[in-house]
């Protein structure tokens, strides 16, 4: 499987964020997008996720399921963690598991994998920032998607959480997955670097 973007250009609010950008990643490979604040890392991820339309250029996924588009085969982990404070941890996770569909894993096991199983019945409103992030990561595990698009995935995670997430990313890559992550911190796995912006 190969994810590629050619000559991508993104314009937001009349301002050009980036242009002439090429990228590619193959199965089992991680791509780390780095750059200063405002360089367009999040915009690039949203273009890949189909949530922003690029002003120029094309994004393509070769070798995936021909019936499905790239966003339908991708997980997007953004700044906002898509959790409902009124629902419990287990309810939040099982909703996304049912709604996203496809190949799923047992929700209890996914919560255990991110060390949140003790809080399964707690309303999500009472979670700390790090715990919310762990719950979002459990969503990535509960439904199988070959492409992971991660925006600052390790922010708010403690050292144990980061180590745990590194293992999960390694497993995903070993299983033929593909990761594109925007990050300031080292990811902790072997990743190709895509530097954006520079002195912008």
């Amino acid at each position: 499987m190969r994810l590629s973007g050619r000559n991508l250009k993104c314009v937001r609010g009349g301002r050009e964020v980036f242009s002439g950008l090429d990228l590619s990643a193959t199965s089992g490979e991680a791509l780390a997008i780095t750059g200063p604040n405002g360089a367009g890392k999040t915009s690039l991820l949203r273009v890949l996720a189909g949530l922003l339309v690029p002003a120029e250029g094309v994004v393509a996924l070769e070798g995936g399921d021909a019936e499905l588009s790239l966003p339908e085969q991708a997980h997007y982990l953004g700044h906002r963690d898509a959790l409902k404070p009124a629902l419990s941890v287990a309810e939040n996770l099982s909703f996304w598991r049912e709604f996203l569909g496809g190949e799923t894993k047992d929700a209890g096991r996914c919560l255990a994998a991110v060390a949140l199983d003790h809080a399964a019945h707690l309303p999500a409103a009472y979670l700390s920032a790090g715990q919310r992030r762990r719950l979002s990561i459990a969503r990535l595990l509960s439904v199988r998607r070959p492409v992971w698009l991660l925006d600052e995935p390790t922010s708010a995670l403690d050292a144990a959480g980061q180590a745990l997430f590194v293992d999960l990313m390694r497993d995903h890559l070993a299983g033929g997955g593909l990761i594109v992550a925007a990050t300031h911190l080292p990811l902790g796995i072997d990743a190709r670097d895509l530097r954006m912006g520079g002195a912008a």
Binding site: L51, Y76, D81, A82, K84, A86, F95, F99, G101
Partner: protein
């Protein structure tokens, strides 16, 4: 289909929890109808003549009140991004959300109608007629209101815009809803004529609403 079922169940569950929209709508409906007899005065004949219109206005305003959270809540916490990316067509997801909203916020209004009818000196037939028109007409309010909710999603303070956008669309529903209720109470029109038009409005909005809302959500992504 299980994806849509999950979405409907989640939205109903959130609406019924503390701070959800279901109770707010009913309480608002109750407030408007309870205050009206005090404002109009103790003229029973006048009250029963105004009754259907008051109930309809209360239901319309109550459904407007909770409608602006339909998409903004999901937009603010990022859920909307995942819904747009998912394998479920966005049109169906919009329809499922509107259906959940109607079940959680619209049905309680209809259930409350017989109780509130007593306050407005409506007899059994009249209350039944108003409840029937509300049952047929409130889906139209939800599904046309959804278009406004989708347009307002990317704007801050979009609630104000929502009211302006949705009001013109809900005028026909209001006219035929009240006309059908009046026809059942005092005639001279047969009940069936305005009631059929009301049902037609609901059916048309059931089809148009999800497509228009999905299109505006796609366009408004940022």
């Amino acid at each position: 289909m299980s994806a849509l079922g999950a979405l409907i169940r989640r939205d109903i569950r959130i609406a019924l929890r503390v701070g959800g929209g279901a109770l707010i709508g009913v309480l608002f409906f109750l407030t408007v109808t309870v205050l009206m007899p005090f404002a109009v005065g103790p003229d029973l004949a006048l009250l029963s003549r105004l009754g259907p219109a008051i109930l309809w206005l209360g239901a319309l305003l109550a459904s407007l009140l909770t409608l602006d959270r339909l998409f903004t809540a999901d937009h603010d916490d990022g859920s909307l991004d995942l819904i747009v990316m998912s394998r479920t067509p966005l049109e169906l997801a919009c329809a499922a959300k509107a259906l959940a909203h109607w079940i959680a916020a619209g049905l309680p209004l209809i259930i409350a109608t017989p109780v509130l009818g007593l306050l407005l000196n409506l007899d059994g037939t009249a209350t039944l007629a108003v409840a029937a028109t509300l049952l047929a007409g409130t889906p139209a309010l939800t599904f046309t209101g959804m278009i406004g909710a989708a347009l307002a999603v990317t704007l801050h303070r979009g609630g104000l815009l929502l009211a302006v956008l949705v009001l013109p669309l809900s005028i026909p529903v209001l006219i035929f809803g009240v006309a059908a209720s009046q026809a059942a109470i005092s005639g001279p029109l047969p009940f069936g004529t305005p009631f059929s038009i009301l049902c037609a409005l609901s059916l048309a909005s059931l089809v148009i609403g999800p497509f228009a809302a999905a299109a505006s959500l796609r366009h408004g992504l940022d």
